[in-house]
């Protein structure tokens, strides 16, 4: 009745996780394992005043996210609550991900994690983490005589 092109979807298993971890260091080799296709995966951009983090994760609500900034480590967990009525539905095509997302990354700059702002709009989680002012940190230029 309906024609829909189905896409190849790999199952998440330890092998997949291993390859993903390996190819993360060499994203130009294989975009599939690194989840770096357009509209996929965590993106981190260091700007002058802050660090902007985006994660496309459609179909959930704001309360499904756990975000934590500890020191310079950012941890994001996104849960997909399983629909219990799923079993009875007749799928003609099923491609949307049912996986949860979990990742911890070390940010390349010092940040002020407690002032992080987060919002979830149109299926995209956006975090703005202000960068730490180097002077507020008590760092001081030392003059060598």
């Amino acid at each position: 009745m309906y024609y829909a092109q189905t896409r190849h979807h790999h199952n998440v298993d330890s092998f997949h996780d291993l390859m993903k971890a390996f190819f993360r260091s060499y994203p130009e080799w294989n975009a599939m394992w690194a989840d770096e296709g357009p509209g996929k995966g965590l993106k981190i951009k260091v700007r002058e005043k802050d660090v902007r983090v985006t994660l496309p994760f459609p179909g959930v609500s704001a309360k499904d996210f756990d975000v934590e900034v500890m020191g310079d480590t950012l941890s994001i967990r996104a849960n997909r609550t399983q629909d219990s009525s799923d079993e009875n539905k007749q799928y003609l095509c099923r491609e949307r991900s049912t996986e949860s997302f979990q990742e911890s990354v070390r940010l390349p700059v010092r940040v002020n994690g407690s002032a992080t702002s987060a919002k979830y709009v149109d299926g995209v989680l956006t975090l703005l983490i202000p960068r730490e002012d180097p002077e507020a940190n008590g760092s001081k230029q030392i003059k060598v005589d």
């Binding site: 024609y3 357009p38 509209g39 994760f57 459609p58 179909g59 949307r96 991900s97 149109d122 299926g123």
Partner: protein, 109 residues
């Protein structure tokens, strides 16, 4: 003029992931279109082909994403009454079945 402007704008075209659920009265297509909303989505049906396009706020190498996908419809779909909505980056299309395609139970006497 408008067509020309459209051509000059560079988009990264992406095939959105879809779920299609069949039920007695209708078929529901849900598509993942993160970064798009009601203002940036268009859905049209022409010659029994349904085409959806969604411009996203996400970018890929500086180019904005354009989610685009087409579905061939059978004449069992009541094209006049297709409805669409977006929420949290999911575009949901409800395709009611035409009277002819619905299950008719016949009482045996």
């Amino acid at each position: 003029m408008n067509e020309e402007m459209k051509k000059n704008e560079q988009y990264m075209e992406v095939l959105p992931a879809a779920d299609i659920i069949d039920s007695e009265k209708n078929a529901v297509i849900s598509l993942e279109v993160p970064g798009a909303n009601a203002q940036t989505v268009t859905v049209e049906v022409k010659d029994q082909v349904l085409t959806m396009e969604a411009r996203s706020s996400l970018t890929y190498h500086g180019m904005p994403l354009l989610y685009k996908r087409s579905f061939q419809l059978s004449d069992a779909v009541d094209v006049e009454n297709i409805s669409a909505k977006t929420q949290d980056g999911i575009l949901t299309l409800t395709l009611p079945k035409s009277e002819r395609a619905k299950v008719h139970r016949i009482q045996v006497q």
